[in-house]
Amino acid sequence: MANLSIRSIANSCLDVDPPLSVRRDVFGYIWGTMNRALSVKSHLQRIKGTSHNLCLILVGHENDFSGQFDVADTRRMQAGVDVMRELYAQVGIGVRKLYWTRIPLADANGHTIVNAAGATDLTEEWSGDNDGIDVFFVTSVTDAGGWSVRNGPCDKDAQGRTGAVLELMGSDQVMGVLMAHEVGHYLGLPHAGSLTNVMGDDSDGDGIGSINAGSVDLTGAQGNTMQSHCSIQAAC
């Protein structure tokens, strides 16, 4: 078993040094405690392997929670990330760094409630650092749970949609499945034709995949596709 020292992994994989808060600095969970059990050992194994980072962008958020999201909302986003981490671990992909950022309400420019066209406008106007896949949290997506682009670019200055756009929805589990689904598209996955798969079912052919809390499977072939995306970083 490889060395799983928190300090050494925090330094080599996350660029953080002591004093460390494991929850905040190693998991990246800055929004307080969640009703989920965290395994430090599993997490370190995951982020030490091939991984990607996430730029989590809260649209219309204020630091004093007077904007679009309250404390419970941010904790649900955080729990969603934790669910997504478990789902991606099935195919050996870690979610390493979380860059939590916000678009102030005054700058949100009507992007708090979007449809497919609005999601494109939002990601064409804003983007996080190229080091991670952009995941925008909006108050509502009116024509789906979220929108992404298949096999999205790693250069955020590329034209078109350069991130995933999600609404805050359902339970922690649903939030995590939705996040894994939309980021899965970004990493190159199409809809799967199975409701038990993270990439869901689109048997009606409208381009919107159906998923639910039980859409948790990822196959080895899907993992191979994800692993080949430009945002996947080597083991650290």
Partner: protein, 352 residues
Amino acid sequence: MANKEDSEALGSKPSTELLDAISANRFGCFVDLPRLTDADVSVLQRILKGTEKEPVPLDRKRAIAALARSSGSPDAVLLLSDVVASTNESQRVRATAARLLSVSPPALAERALLSNLAVDDEAVRTELIASLRVVGGVDALQTLASLADVGSDALRRQLEFARLMIGLRVAPSKVNSGRTLGVIWEALKVVPIDSVRVREHLHALHDSSYGVELSSEVGFEIECSGATHVVLLNAAFERGAFLRPLRSGNAIAALVVLAEKGVAHLTVRYVVLTSPVADGVSVIVARGSGEAVYSGDAIADGAGLRLQLRDVGRERVPTEIGGMITEDTVQLELRVWRGAARPKRRPLAIPR
């Protein structure tokens, strides 16, 4: 305070104008930067060479600026060149001297600039190349053509611009201004679609049509960045009478909807708003957020209206939309910028 004895011993005395021009403590507010007299230039050259005592605390940047604008003599150019080369001078002074050589006689300046091109200070080298852009000739072009791996993007851009501008002076047929400056436009295909296709799009529209009854006969598709945009006209626009609704009053003339690959339903991205004006029609294309993204006019031209729109506001990709509208036809052309795009906005970090 001038050292009266030294100045007089050398045969001339610094004037008030010279002292104002070179002092670290006295500043005149000159609308036109005054040129010094020949006598003052002589004094100033001796001061800068160190053969005459500084009559006042000296601002060397101001002093060389005064020299450069007052004299284009070989001595003055040589002195400026020595300042550029001297590592005893500050970067600010050396870079300024390099830039000021551009106002010296071109042949002298070019030699001085080229002789200093090997300096290891990027800020100074950037100014040398910027000056060669202005005064360089054949020799400069040959030297700059052989420079490789010049450093930062800013320096590389300055170098390419210098090659272009010198090229335009000495070999204009061999340059391509647009390519050098990254001015790249791409014409996009605007395809008129038949009524069957228009009806398919109307059926797939999964969004409000703003209360507009949309034409089931006329529409256009535009492929851009992997997505298709569909222009759906207001049903008031009927073939044989396209112009009447434009001229009769304010209107929502069209909706532009986004059709993504693999997604069966369409959503509205832009609304096209028109208003009659004296010689035609004013046109604004706005997002659902209320931001105007394209604006322009359709101006009377023969039997029709000639359309010309440009991007406005924060749109990242400059875009030109043109075309011709007659009673029977609507013809659209679209050009998008393929050079460097405007930067995106960055969200704020949330404190941990």
